[in-house]
Symmetry: C2
Subunit: 324 residues, 2 copies
């Protein structure tokens, strides 16, 4: 996180990011003390603000206006935040980014309506944009994210899923919102159709790579680095890409079964993580994320030269190398 923030990217957009933080804070103001606290708790947990960054970068390919772009950027970050709060209810997750989740600090009901509130604020923020196409795209994206939530739930603790099932899931969980962030940024600044198309594709491919790496890091990082127990995805019943390669190995299956039924001891969790790290599955998963990154990079290459293009190249490079 800190390393990421040290990137030139974050320096270039310092003014915009400060503005966004302020707007996010304004957006979650509420007369209800409880909702205000829950929202601020969530906001203060931070995040990489990748969606706002993508919106800003993309809108630089057209007629850039900070105020207009900020409305869309705030809206997309709020959609992301809201979906996290509801996800934590579905996953029964107690920790995120080293902090208690809303559902853990308060309860499921508070998490539900905090999410509803933040979703609504996302809509009113983007509501100020006078382009029907923008609202349609956001609505379609929210529907797909929501379907993703449900699919994730339906596939919980199922070991009979295919690579395609996994890819479809992360598309909805992550790639679509990043893709829409790019597309919306380009749309609101009236960028050329071809540029809009390339940015949308870039966001999609970068998002797929991003989520695969995220799923790898859940298995290779320390509890401290993650701010939650390593292997949380498995403990929550989610099969990620590396696991798909080894799920049928006899020595691995007892770990998987115990992780899924909640009986894995701390010692076994450490053994399981060691097994996964030494299995070769991590490297195979990296190959897949690299494929997506290459596709992402190819989309940027043909974009008009400029600072925004350079910044997107830097993002792709960061995504390829990140280890945190």
């Amino acid at each position: 996180m800190e390393k990421l923030k040290a990137m030139a990217l974050y320096t270039d957009f310092r003014k915009e990011l400060i503005y966004i933080e302020k707007e996010l804070e304004n957006a979650v103001q509420s007369d209800s003390p409880l909702i205000q606290q829950a929202s601020m708790h969530l906001l203060r947990a931070g995040g990489k603000r990748i969606r706002p960054i993508f919106v800003f970068l993309s809108s630089k390919f057209g007629n850039y206006s900070m105020e207009t772009t900020a409305k869309v950027a705030v809206s997309l970050e709020l959609v992301h935040m809201a979906s996290l709060v509801h996800d934590d209810v579905i996953d029964n997750s107690n920790m995120r980014r080293g902090r208690k989740t809303v559902k853990a600090k308060w309860d499921n009901r508070v998490a539900m309506y905090t999410g509803d509130f933040i979703f609504s604020r996302a809509l009113t923020s983007i509501g100020e944009i006078e382009m029907a196409s923008v609202h349609r795209l956001l609505a379609d994206t929210m529907l797909e994210i929501c379907k993703g939530e449900i699919i994730q739930f339906d596939y919980q603790r199922r070991t009979d899923q295919s690579f395609r099932d996994y890819l479809r899931r992360i598309k909805r969980k992550t790639a679509l919102l990043l893709s829409s962030s790019c597309e919306l940024g380009a749309l609101i600044s009236n960028a050329d159709d071809e540029v809009v198309r390339r940015l949308r594709n870039f966001g999609y491919y970068a998002g797929m790579a991003f989520q695969i790496v995220d799923d790898i890091l859940d298995l290779t990082s320390s509890d401290k680095q993650l701010g939650k127990p390593a292997g949380s995805d498995l403990l929550n019943g989610h099969l990620t890409l590396p696991i798909l390669y080894i799920r049928n190995e006899t020595a691995f299956q007892p770990y998987l079964a115990k992780a899924f039924d909640g009986t894995l001891s701390e010692k076994e969790r450490a053994e399981m993580l060691r097994y996964i790290r030494e299995s070769g599955a991590i490297e195979k998963a990296h190959e897949v994320s690299d494929l997506y990154l290459e596709k992402a990079t190819a989309e940027i290459r043909s974009l008009p030269d400029g600072d925004a293009k350079k910044a997107f190249e830097q993002v792709a490079d960061f995504l390829a190398k990140r280890t945190f």
Copy 2:
């Protein structure tokens, strides 16, 4: 319900209502069997479809198009349905319209994402309308409804609330969505500004009257008529208008305390309901709803003559007299 459906209003809009039911069914189709079942369960529980009716009637004051109007009508009914599913989680309600609620039949998590799914479908349905003002209005309305959910939660089991608190709550719970139904119907058919304003006001006043009567019926109807225990509002910790008149009466306070802490016996519930019915509070609450109805009627009076105006007059008349 059946009496309502026998109204000329429902005969006049037979074609539209059949179309709407079909579209509502299409809207909740999902690849996930669970979400599909939960949504259909909700849809089959029925409802008066008052929001769609208000949208249709209002759009008759401009250039009416059934397809366009239906998109907005479907969207508003879906917003209403989604908010009911989430409300039942907040209220921990197990019965609604004589059927188990989604949270009771499945669980809170399924209810949460069924609501999310239906909300998203509401957005994609209205997303097809190419008017930014429509999206802005819906976003603002959803935010207020959501704030209403939260306020309702904050005020649960509080006896120190004012008449203004109550009115503010039912405004967000019911009146705003009915007001927006009228406003959106008029907007999409490009009705005159003055007509839009009057219809918005009509929806608001009619909505206030409607909810007050609903709150009265919760205390005066039988369990069978309601499809849930009479007095449910109190059992859920919600203070409604009639109760505000008698909450400080010494003989009533033990009932109130027991209803709020969940220790009211069946015998005591019957006694409490009898107390309320004989207290004069029901009549006082009716006077308030009549005031709102007069205001609603005044708004209709000045609208251009025609079938839609007559139908709205009939609606107001029905609202005044309904006993079910």
